[in-house]
Symmetry: C2
Subunit: 693 residues, 2 copies
């Protein structure tokens, strides 16, 4: 591996490999190089928390993209977070081209995110801790069974008793009667606090009422358990999805081209997938048009609704506190994605400073997407029917008990879709037989209380709608003026799209209103559609937009400022990437970091006809029920970014139809896309007697 | 054909064919029989508007289902609408087993829906009408080009100048320079009114400002037009979807069994697909459990938002005024649906009383549905991943310019999904160059004004959640009591599901509230989940729920009473099938028919622990833009019915996983569902290096 990496570096130096795209994630070699440069300047013991691409400043990047021949190529730069002895946190920037550390700061009073390595160590320490052993004993677990005790270590969130200066984790405790039993059926009632610096348990939160170890039989879902209960059903016949002529997309480096789309696919330890420089070739205008500069899931928070201490601490920021990239799954063919798949790997740094790679971190594939458009003329039966294809870029990350499956989808009609599926296992807590959950949770299995919770995601949308000077309009469906019977609205049927320009950062804070089908349009007001006269826009259509339920002024409200509103719009700033702050664990929310801080620092900054970022919070509120346990059927959630007044007409008319006939030749079937049609069959044999074919 | 039909009847009589299921749509033979029985009793000239199954009364049907051996089989009965001379309307009921007309009523002051045959005739009459020719001349169409004039005849909706006694249509006028040009690019500015009884034009609505014929070049989407503009793209490689071992469902008559589901698939001229008697085999309880008694789209309305006369008349009730079944497409293999398809035909009566059949009216097929559930344990990398399958029953209907693609989807986890895709062509109206649309529409192409509109669907949900005695709860996500800092809610994070029992028909009228993620639970309060203690429920999760925009007291508000609220709940009544009334065309809304009438007639009727029906209005508000033209990329919309506290646990644990490993054998891969995995490939060759495989 080391040899291979050295070869790679060498071939880069000798020019046998093309240089990376400036937005490519750091390679293993680049990570190794960054670590080595830091080590040569800073000789003390350092634990590496993150070494990731410090993305080129946008102005520099756009200049280079415009004239790559004459503009200097943006340097490859690493953004580094390092933890030194005594929980000292250093934020560094390393220029890999110049091979030097360009900034290095000791950052006081913050805690960087918790890595998988940070998590892994806690369980073994918990098992050996005498106070934990004592607590286990009190609820019925003898010392000799401590190897059956498990924990999911979480960041502590924020606990005012311990503050922000000591790096802490809370250990949510479980038990496995057998190594193959799901521990979430056996939650324990106490919660140790772990000091990551000293690697010891410094406190245990013990509830006033004790709940002995659950004695219910295991509730498992792995193969052996199902086999033991009668086995798997045998009536699901295989569905094969094949592309005998290959896929319809091409990939050069990390730039993907598919249909009229072009997109650069990035990935980092925190946001996971990052889509950059999305453009669409507009055949009517004969040019490549900018659509979005950068799309990502930038943050999320999962507040739980049980007010009993210490459950208020359960409100994980899965991206900012753990990293959607770090937790990402290595995907497997035919399991996570079906069809003809292209994978990309993801390289990270480990605690010791060595590069590591998650193979198959990103899945790219196409799917048939049903009908793209269809119309039959009723008078002559002439018909055109065109099937749709979609391109999916996905990754899946496991945040302790839960999994998040993230699908970024491009459509032929210019629509961008984000779909998220929630699956995995409910976070559970112990309950006594007959105990009143007070409505804060549901008994999903005897002795298992699954608390109410929300999943609130913050999508960072950096639009480039026909260029980087954009404005945002809030658009509501509104009744027209004039009462029923009036001259202007005699029958009362007048309605229109009421648009409100968002003018300043302070004024760019919006709530959702489903009643008026509220959407937001990111518009280029200097590019008017030649037909409609309206600005070229992309519209955010998002319908799963619950209110943040934790109350104003409370812990979650303070820490997760981004989640207070459905939409915030800010003027672009290279440093504004993390809506809950750069370092999230153990922030108190006094003052709130990220979005509230940026906006309150410059409330009157104009967001009109300038480079803007739209931050959208969406998600679901989950009241668990027994069918979500012991593993949860995937719950889907989706949103769309749709072109409006952007194109002169339907931009996918050039997709070959499956069938098209015109009135002047009604009997002549034009199977333009016929070769895809022939593959379908009748379920039970025989021939299809459609009137058209 | 006649011979074949006679044979069928004969074999039925001689017992060589099994008798139809009582909920099966009438066969061609039964339709012929009903017509013949009526003709033998009523000798006058009759035009048949509808001959459809008069569904067995629910009590009778349930009794027979419970003990089919001892209970008399419900008779086959036809529900008949006939138009006699002088626009007389007869509603009849014919018992096919007893071969007699059991009721026959002359219904005054109503107009039954408009059939395709009713529509077809108008265009030829319009072309020959001297006053229409005169109007065409005024806007630039010479008499010799009248063969290039087209019209989409709509029901008149309601026009107070003409009332309800004469059967009328309004002709929305268009022009085709060439027979293959899309007429929606050339809307004409006037609107003739057609008397269906006398078959003549009785009036023409002419706008105060005239708009000459559009002179813009054609804007077409058929194959020849695209070929002429540079042709179709050639970079879409085929995707083959095959089921070499056959499909996973079975069909006996019209009863489909798939996974744990059983459902009877009905179809009628009005609602199109009707799903009956949906049950789910609960392996944990070892019994077949009732889920839903009957699901359908019962009505819809499409109000347009331009208040200028006579556009208020554009508010089509596509189901009640035209019939989703009558307008249904004959589907073709590989075009409308891909994979291994089972089709069902649909039989109707024509105007002359002869049975007719739309071949392949209903498509039934399976699709891979991505991940069903997945979890990886982060500490040992044990993983289970199971892929989902879904079963789709669909039909597509063409309502003049628009198409509605209706997908009823069953999921393995007990979820029922309704997905609707809107495609086809915008309704258009003429506009002058530079004319101000006043916000009521958008110029989508030079000279083409597409008006704002809503698509509001009414889904009729007749639940049978573990039996027929059900109640409905409105469920809101709510903050817990206690201010931040209080003992009961110190950190402000308390939240819960606030449930409100709907008690009476009047009290069962609910609006949507996206802010609180409002859902509705159809519950059986006598079947408490053994773990959660909560009633077995199915939850309606629907997020596309716009407000009816036409104003209270106005024409649409009065006629489309069902659309005033997101949810109405009524006590079950065999006769309550049509939420805007049995005969919808030319209803004035004074008083409102259907739901408002039923509820105001019995406001205090209890809807608690009884047989109830939930009527749900959902849809979208559409502000057109040029990318929707000349044919609209499909716009999707969806809602879910999800089991909550219905099962004891995830009901699809017995679906074979694609991959499953347990901690005690972490290196042993258990490819339980391996044969489906092998079909996937890497996009660009090579081998997959996933860490698990």
């Amino acid at each position: 591996m080391v040899l291979e990496r050295l070869k790679q570096v060498a071939s880069h130096v000798t020019g046998t490999l093309p240089p990376p795209h400036p937005l490519d994630p750091l390679s293993e070699a680049e990570i190794a190089s960054a670590v080595s440069i830091i080590r040569s300047e800073h000789k003390q013991e350092l634990f590496f928390n993150a070494v990731t691409l410090w993305e080129p400043r946008k102005a520099e990047m756009l200049a280079w993209l415009a004239t790559p021949e004459t503009t200097p190529r943006p340097h490859r730069v690493a953004d580094v977070v390092v933890i030194g002895k005594g929980s000292k946190v250093y934020d560094g920037v390393v220029d890999l081209d110049e091979k030097k550390v360009v900034s290095w700061e000791l950052t006081e009073g913050v805690q960087p995110l918790i890595t998988m390595e940070d998590l892994q160590i806690v369980e073994s320490i918990v098992r050996m801790d005498e106070k934990v052993i004592e607590q286990c004993g009190l609820i019925g677990i003898p010392r000799e069974n401590m190897h059956k005790v498990y924990c999911d270590p979480w960041t502590i969130g924020y606990d005012e008793r311990f503050g922000s200066n000591i790096r802490l984790q809370q250990a949510l405790m479980y038990y496995r009667p057998h190594p193959d039993d799901s521990q979430y059926t056996y939650p324990l009632d106490f919660c140790p606090i772990f000091n990551a610096d000293t690697q010891e348990i410094i406190h245990i939160d013990v509830p006033p009422i004790r709940r002995p170890l659950n004695l219910a039989p295991p509730n498992n879902y792995h193969a052996a358990a199902v086999e033991a209960e009668g086995g798997f059903r045998t009536d699901i016949k295989p569905i094969h999805i094949t592309q005998p002529e290959g896929v319809s997309f091409s990939v050069e480096g990390r730039t993907l081209k598919w249909q009229n789309w072009s997109v650069h696919i990035g990935f980092n330890y925190r946001e996971g997938l990052v889509l950059n420089n999305l453009t669409f070739f507009d055949r009517d205008e004969g040019r490549e048009r900018d659509v979005m500069w950068r799309l990502s899931l930038a943050e999320m928070v999962v507040p739980y609704g049980n007010p009993e201490h210490p459950h208020q601490r359960k409100h994980a920021f899965d991206l900012g506190e753990y990293g959607g990239g770090y937790m990402t799954n290595s995907l497997s063919l035919g399991c996570d994605c079906k069809g003809a798949i292209h994978y990309l790997d993801a390289a990270f740094v480990n605690r010791a400073g060595a590069p590591t790679t998650i193979k198959n971190a990103i899945c790219i594939h196409e799917e048939d997407a049903g009908i793209l458009f269809k119309h039959t003329d009723f008078r002559d039966d002439s018909c055109t029917i065109t099937r749709a294809r979609k391109l999916i870029m996905s990754h899946i990350f496991t945040a302790a008990n839960y999994e998040y499956c993230v699908y970024w989808i491009l459509h032929q009609d210019g629509t961008i879709q984000l779909e998220i599926k929630l699956t995995g296992i409910l976070n559970t807590y112990a309950m006594l037989p007959g105990e009143d959950t007070h409505g804060w949770g549901t008994q999903v299995y005897p002795g298992v209380n699954a608390h109410n919770h929300q999943h609130l995601f913050c999508m960072r949308i950096d639009p480039a709608v026909d260029g980087h000077s954009n404005s945002v309009f809030e658009v509501d469906a509104a009744q027209g003026p004039g009462e029923v019977g009036s001259a202007e609205n005699k029958y009362g049927n007048a309605f229109y799209a009421k648009k409100r320009l968002l003018e300043t950062q302070q004024g760019g804070v919006c709530d959702y209103d489903g009643d008026v089908s509220r959407t937001w349009e990111m518009a280029n007001t200097s590019r008017l559609n030649p037909y409609s006269g309206k600005p070229a826009s992309y519209k955010l259509v998002s319908r799963e937009v619950p209110k943040l339920l934790p109350k104003e002024g409370g812990l979650v409200w303070k820490r997760a400022g981004f989640a207070r509103h459905a939409v915030h719009v800010t003027k672009y700033d290279d440093s504004h990437l993390h809506p809950a702050g750069r370092h999230v664990p153990q922030t108190s929310g006094d003052p709130s970091q990220g979005l509230p801080a940026w906006i309150s620092a410059a409330p009157c900054t104009s967001i009109v006809d300038t480079d803007v970022v739209l931050w959208h919070t969406f998600g679901i509120t989950h009241f668990p029920s027994p069918e979500d346990f012991p593993v949860m059927p995937a719950e889907p959630m989706t949103l769309l970014l749709r072109p409006r007044n952007f194109f002169r007409r339907n931009p996918c008319l050039d997709v070959p139809p499956s069938f098209s006939s015109a009135p002047s030749a009604p009997k002549k079937n034009q199977f333009v896309g016929g070769k895809t049609v022939g593959e379908s069959t009748l379920a039970f044999g025989g021939t299809s007697a459609c009137s058209k074919c």
